[in-house]
């Protein structure tokens, strides 16, 4: 999920109100759009058919009371001292994994980010181009594609089979793919940064590393820092999910309690998980919002007091981060020596020789079938997420109301609705998709459907928030104008709110689709079905050749989805 969340952050399509409001002005485009709509409906129907809806017995009848019991347990989690201590320790472990993983990813990201930036290789200048610059730049970029394309859970499974149950597994599994994503984003940030001071230093004969240090990084620092904290937020969720596949921490305890059907324990752990990721979110957004405040460029001249004020939250956060790093190292004591142990290299050697891609007993037909199932899973998931997100968005958005509509009571009721839906959205996205999948597996037989619903429910929480924010950030002037013309609340909604927001909603949905196809592997690993399940079984039976084939199929699917999504988004613009 990490990859595309990053993308989401950085280049959300800019759809102006005007473009959205007058789609008919460009006839060709609107026809293309209608084509995509028909295509989407047909594809969804096909996916639903593939999921076996209406054909098989999908529901486990004995599972329904289990689910009831599960949700009933939400109100009385296990809170005795012993279990709370265990939850606390597990939470600290998950936190430590997230911190160490983030730090590793930042180290990789900074080094590789500088090395894969065009600025480093001096592109586009009028001066002399360095010999081999294009090659060096392309090589670093290509090197980063593979670690980025493999989901952190797959990395986790891979490292588990090499190192066994060691803290280093989670740290590497987060650090490597996140490092590659961070490198990409960092290189983009560096290339977008004003380069005047950097090239001035180069001109004065300074070597490149020193010039980057003095002229480029300080300028880009606030952007880099902000993105680093966002990465930490993502790492928190990944650390929990990695526990589910066996890396330890909260996720691991969660899995144990789930297998033993101890619902009260599950809820304690879930609450801890929610608290942990909510804290990470809050911290990250507190840091990031510092940056969004307008720069003080205008108030140059008299030394402004803002200079001192600016630093407090940031310095505090950086100090806290350093403290957390120290604590994490002490808490999990990642045994780095295992990295150069003989045994490790033997295993890696075996792994490499055994991993020539080959088809399993199911053959090509089996591979294609699993791929199709995975694709169907992602499509149903995104449709479920989009529709339920849409349904929850408008109650969740605190849309500006005309000043004097309704009594105080009505406004209070509205506030309750807003808070309740927001709470629901938080809950939906706080529980990781694989946990949702394990829950759905109580009532559904393994296959496309439980995976799709799990991903759909989780993504609905994410999409709902994004959509609500979009709706709240709408330009209110047209809405006021509509009201001034005497439009009712519902009319304002239909005329003023839906048209400008819908293209963005669709764009968000498509981005999340790209994320979802990558996430299918996670719900698959816990048993929902599709390529993820195949991969898990292959890795468990040391069939590395088969696993590589599955990974290749997954990457191919990712590419197909990315291209389709990009094509649809182009037609929106």
């Amino acid at each position: 999920m990490a990859q595309v969340q990053a993308k989401e952050q950085r280049d959300l399509p800019e759809l102006s109100l005007r473009e959205a409001a007058f789609p008919a002005a460009r006839g060709g485009r609107s026809l293309t759009r209608r084509g995509w709509l028909v295509f989407a409906i047909c594809a969804t129907l096909a996916a639903v058919a593939a999921a076996g809806v209406g054909r098989h017995d999908l529901l486990k009848s004995q599972g329904v009371p289990q689910v009831q019991e599960f949700f009933a347990a939400a109100l009385h989690p296990r809170l005795d001292r012993e279990f709370l201590a265990l939850t606390g320790r597990a939470s600290l472990t998950t936190l430590a994994y997230a911190v160490l993983g983030t730090v590793l990813s930042l180290v990789i990201g900074l080094a590789a980010g500088v090395l894969s930036s065009q600025t480093w290789w001096q592109f586009g200048g009028r001066g002399r181009r360095r010999p081999g610059a294009l090659f060096g730049w392309a090589a670093t970029r290509v090197l980063l594609v593979v670690p980025r394309g493999i989901h952190e859970v797959v990395w986790g499974l891979l490292f588990l089979s090499i190192f066994g149950l060691q803290p280093i597994v989670a740290v590497l599994a987060i650090g490597i793919p996140f490092g590659a994503v961070t490198a990409k984003v960092f290189s983009e940030i560096l290339d977008e940064t004003a380069k005047a001071s950097y090239s001035a230093l180069i001109t004065a004969g300074s070597p490149r590393p020193a010039a980057v240090l003095y002229g480029l990084l300080p300028v880009a620092l606030s952007d880099l820092l902000s993105y680093s904290f966002y990465r930490f937020e993502c790492a928190m969720r990944s650390a929990a999910v990695l526990g589910l596949v066996g890396a330890g921490g909260l996720g691991f305890e969660l899995r144990l309690s789930l297998q033993a059907l101890r619902y009260a324990e599950i809820w304690t752990l879930l609450y801890a998980l929610v608290a942990l990721s909510a804290a990470a979110d809050l911290w990250s957004s507190a840091v990031r919002s510092r940056r969004r405040t307008p720069r003080r460029r205008a108030s140059r001249g008299a030394g402004s007091p803002a200079g001192q004020r600016r630093d407090r939250v940031l310095t505090g956060s950086v100090a806290l981060a350093v403290g957390l790093l120290g604590f994490s190292l002490w808490w999990v004591r990642p045994g780095i020596s295992v990295l150069w142990a003989r045994r490790t290299w033997e295993l890696i050697g075996q792994l490499v020789t055994a991993s020539r891609p080959r088809l399993g007993p199911a053959g090509l037909a089996g591979l294609l079938q699993s791929s199709a199932a995975t694709l169907a899973m992602s499509m149903i998931a995104i449709v479920v997420a989009f529709l339920s997100g849409l349904l929850l968005t408008f109650p969740a958005a605190n849309l500006s109301q005309p000043a004097r509509t309704g009594a105080r009571m009505a406004r209070a009721a509205r506030l309750v609705v807003v808070l309740a839906t927001r709470g629901l959205l938080v809950l939906l996205r706080a529980i990781p998709a694989p946990v949702w999948a394990l829950l759905f597996l109580f009532v559904l037989f393994p296959g496309i459907l439980p995976g799709a619903l799990a991903l759909g429910v989780y993504t609905a929480g994410v999409l709902g928030r994004l959509m609500a924010e979009t709706a709240e950030n709408l330009d209110t002037r047209p809405l006021r104008a509509l009201r001034a013309h005497g439009a009712s609340g519902l009319q304002v909604f239909c005329y003023g709110i839906v048209p400008p927001t819908m293209p963005r909603f669709v764009a968000y949905g498509l981005y999340r689709w790209e994320v979802t196809i990558r996430e299918t592997v996670v719900v698959g690993v816990v048993g929902a079905g599709g390529l993820g399940l195949v991969l898990d079984q292959q890795l468990a039976s040391f069939d590395y050749g088969g696993a590589v084939t599955t990974l290749l199929a997954l990457m191919a699917l990712t590419v197909v989805v990315d291209f389709t999504s990009a094509a649809i988004r182009r037609s929106l613009r």
């Binding site: 005047a196 230093l201 001109t203 004065a204 004969g205 020193a210 240090l213 001249g301």
Partner: protein, 255 residues
């Protein structure tokens, strides 16, 4: 040609696609000389500066900087030459996020090993030089100020201090006072002049301000449409030549 030429352009042509920025420039600047280049926008002043500091390569002709042919020199050799040239830009090109002392020390990056540069960011090194340079340019009290908080004139002084610690053989300044008010601009020009005189550093400044050029420099080069229109001491330059230099080209579109 005297052997102590700091810069030598011979038939230098600079071509950007179809646009010819410089069409055959011959210019020799002896070391220790103080020269102003004037001319309208688009005359090619920045291109001359670019050729002289090695950021721009001539399409034709040759460029000798401190005796080195920039087009033929290896990257390492070019960097060695560049570290002996101090360039000052119109937009100062300072890192506003850094403290003044680091921006001044940035002038030494060409000589410092990387570890020293890294450590200096944590705890400034060779503080004495930086303090001296800032005193010289008249803002000794701003050592630890955030560069972005300084005024335009102060920032330009920081840029000069950076060049000072670089201990260059020549200073190239590309419209250094274009974003300052006239009084502050004169101050800066005066300062650069003094510095050049004190230590015999060659000084080449491109200017919009004709008065400042004629007042303070012993040699003024007029540039128009990529060619040298005149070149000589101020008292030999007539006001008609100046007017001609800046005359609008009504028959031609685009400058």
């Amino acid at each position: 040609m005297s052997t102590d030429a700091a810069f030598e352009l011979a038939g230098a042509v600079v071509q950007y696609g179809p646009v010819r920025a410089l069409s055959g420039i011959d210019l020799t600047i002896r070391s220790g000389e103080r020269v102003a280049i004037i001319g309208p926008s688009g005359a090619g002043k920045s291109s001359v500066i670019g050729l002289l500091n090695g950021t721009l390569m001539p399409s034709r002709g040759s460029v000798l900087v401190l005796g080195i042919d920039t087009a033929a020199a290896s990257a390492r050799r070019l960097r060695q030459v560049q570290s002996r040239l101090g360039t000052i830009h119109q937009q100062f090109d300072l890192v506003e996020q850094l403290r003044v002392v680091h921006n001044v020390n940035a002038g030494k990056l060409g000589r410092w090993p990387l570890w020293k540069a890294v450590l200096s960011l944590l705890r400034p090194r060779e503080l004495h030089d930086a303090r001296l340079a800032l005193h010289r340019v008249g803002i000794g009290d701003k050592l630890y100020a955030r560069t972005g908080d300084l005024s335009g004139g102060e920032q330009q002084r920081v840029a000069i201090a950076r060049v000072l610690v670089q201990r260059p053989s020549a200073i190239l300044a590309d419209e250094p006072i274009a974003s300052l008010d006239p009084a502050r601009g004169r101050d800066i020009i005066g300062l650069m002049h003094e510095i050049s005189q004190e230590s015999g550093i060659t000084l080449l400044v491109s200017l919009h301000d004709v008065e400042a050029a004629l007042d303070r420099f012993e040699r003024v080069v007029g540039l128009r449409r990529g060619r040298i229109a005149f070149d000589g001491p101020p008292h030999r330059i007539h006001s008609e030549q100046i007017e001609e230099l800046y005359a609008l080209e009504s028959k031609q579109t685009g400058a």
